[in-house]
Symmetry: C2
Subunit: 214 residues, 2 copies
């Protein structure tokens, strides 16, 4: 009972900070997306490709338990990137994002992506102040993932299905995955991309360009 | 401060129950492994192959946030399987495992695998009473994962690198991944397998047959 109370108070505190972040994003007319996926689904690779298209107007705050590998890759691709090392925590919190925002010139950005820790469960419960959650799934993970992780796929506004170049080599029913996503969220956007071949990125770029500003 | 105290007391309670589980496993002379990986790395597929080899003497307690898909697959493959649906929690606890053990005839088992929730972070902190942790990684997730998730790879006694049939289609340096694992844990066992072709399963079967009983 004590534990539940403490957690609920921590969540309330998180939501207050998320609202502060949201107000700040709004002042800057900034579209903010929260990217959530398993480790290795290709969030960073997708953002590298988008970084080479949008350059420094794409900001990425990237969370990792350890190492700054992702921020290094994103900067090399041209994006504005900043790393949060959580040192053990399995999800980003609104306070971690707020702490990082001081290190970024928000006025120079058009879109800010918060690349969450690779984890399909915990991150979906934490509001960071984003406009929308985007779930990234790769075809090597299995087409049953939307059914197995409904909390994320219900809350996501868009799904990016990555590594479609590997479809000939794996058993993955794209239509089943898309249908399962729509069962959870009728209006979900569903993108099919390959970071290797570039397939599907024109659609994704248009989505990024069309996101309504906060 | 209150939150830290509550969590530390929850962890202490978890460890007490883990010790009870361990004593029970010992009474049954049972080797117990805790499988930890990202979602979609292929834990269930590996256990299906081992189930078809070991039959009902292989027990699997499989944890999922939602659905009983995994237990159904494992039973169809011949193993003794039981599902824990956590309904939201991102890791198994010793208490969840203890609760499930009542539903299994441990005397009939030789090896029991606890297939944890797909998550590279949280499950590595919870002792379930197992003999050893086994990390499962697939080649599509990226060879930097051992460096990015040191908590798991330091605590794991063995790594199963899965989907090696996809190596020609992805950028994954197997030697780098193995070397990074050994930097964290010199004595780690490293298996390279493919559930699609069956490659590497002879070694894995020998490992399972040779696990010292608790």
């Amino acid at each position: 009972m004590t534990e539940i109370k403490v957690l609920s108070s921590a969540m309330q505190k998180n939501n207050e900070i998320a609202e502060r972040n949201r107000a700040l994003f709004k002042r800057h007319g900034l579209a903010v997306l929260n990217f959530i996926s398993s480790p290795g689904s290709g969030k960073t690779s997708i953002l590298e490709r988008l970084g080479s298209r949008f350059g420094t107007s794409l900001g990425v705050i990237t969370g990792d338990v350890q190492t700054t590998l992702d921020a290094d890759r994103l900067k090399a691709a041209g994006a504005t990137a900043l790393q949060i090392e959580t040192g053990g925590t399995c999800h980003l919190t609104a306070a971690m994002v707020e702490g990082a925002l001081g290190g970024m010139d928000l006025a120079k950005l058009k879109v800010l992506v918060i690349e969450n820790i690779g984890n399909l469960v915990c991150p979906s419960s934490y509001d960071l102040g984003e406009l929308a959650k985007v779930a990234v799934l790769s075809v090597t993970e299995g087409d049953e993932k939307p059914a197995k992780y409904p909390a994320l796929f219900t809350r996501a506004s868009a799904v990016i299905l990555n590594k479609v170049d590997l479809l000939p080599h794996v058993n993955f029913d794209v239509d089943r995955a898309e249908a399962d996503c729509r069962k959870l969220n009728r209006d979900i956007r569903f993108f099919r991309v390959s970071c290797k071949t570039g397939e599907g990125f024109e659609d994704l770029v248009r989505y990024f360009e069309g996101i309504p500003r906060a």
